[in-house]
Symmetry: C2
């Protein structure tokens, strides 16, 4: 007698669907947190505000983040991951071109709500644990700028310069965008990134 089969939901598919659902929920939480932190301010936003905005209970929220510090650290992590994706540019282009590409993407992320949280984070004393991962991400961004400056100096597209201070100068300007840029401020993020990066890098090329 043939074994009678029934169409059942595969528990494996169900598990992976749950994983996807969980990732989506996490994203929704982080985006809501980023929105509230960057509009109301980090200090003035409570975990209750975030739970209410999402229509969930606080225990549900605690399933995704230990506390507010952990939450902003996760948001900032999203932003630095996004910036670091821009490392995958055209590796054969001159250093200056690669740098401009990277800085434009960096500026673009910094004008988003998650990017603003990454910038804001530098200004709050968040716990060591939550802060460590963010600092790793920030250092990687910083290191990539240094690497591209050094590459540009080697290939002649950038005039010899103080690499450390020039990195701080470039990153400082771009992080500044996160402090003043607002989507409803009459300027597009693309325009800001374009003008900033052109203006900042124009002095780098040899004369």
């Amino acid at each position: 007698m043939p074994v009678k089969t029934r169409a059942v939901k595969s528990p494996w598919i169900a598990a992976s669907a749950r994983a996807i659902e969980r990732a989506e929920k996490r994203t929704a939480i982080l985006q809501t947190a980023a929105h509230l932190f960057s509009t109301k301010g980090f200090q003035k936003t409570s975990l209750d505000d975030i739970a209410v905005a999402l229509g969930i209970t606080k225990p549900t929220l605690y399933y995704y983040a230990k506390n507010k510090d952990d939450l902003i650290a996760q948001v900032a992590g999203l932003a630095s991951d996004e910036i670091l994706k821009a490392r995958e540019g055209d590796e054969n282009a001159p250093g200056l071109e690669q740098l401009k590409y990277f800085l434009r993407r960096y500026a673009g992320v910094t004008s988003t709500e998650t990017g603003r949280c990454l910038v804001m984070l530098a200004d709050y004393d968040i716990g060591e644990g939550a802060g460590a991962e963010v600092r790793t991400g920030k250092r990687a961004v910083d290191q990539h700028i240094r690497d591209l400056l050094a590459l540009g100096v080697r290939d002649g597209s950038i005039a010899p310069c103080d690499i450390k201070l020039t990195t701080f100068m470039l990153a400082g300007s771009i992080n500044g965008i996160g402090r003043w840029f607002r989507e409803d401020g009459g300027l597009s993020a693309e325009k800001v990134a374009e003008v900033f990066v052109n203006q900042m890098t124009m002095g780098l090329a040899p004369r």
Copy 2:
């Protein structure tokens, strides 16, 4: 009979001496506050910490500042006054030269403890009253940069540029100094100001 006179302390001199003493005490309070805010952080510094560091009572401290917000606003006011003094440069120099002079002084102040408080202030939600005066000072700094850029464009020392965004770019880099510069970090404030300003403004001149 001649009126016998005695050498008495003039009450007017005494009053002016008291005014000087009061100004000196205020300066000592603001410098101590600036030191603690910029080393321990604004949030982690209490009015008690400041009173203890000065060896005074809290009521004495309240004679000079209403609260912690008022205190950091006064510190920041010192810094913006100091930056704005640099407006009195050589009015006959080309716009680009005047801009470089102003930015170097701005960078110099930003690497001091009071300057760091001015930068930090942007990151905290301080009360409206205390914040208003500081915003006025910051706007004046911003406006002077815009004026010098416009002057440079008119006199041909600066290539036509987006004045508003270029101002944000320049101010963003310089404010960044207040976030990472530490006197014991192995770099002098002068060196930082020099490299930053040269690098930032090199792209402004017409090619």
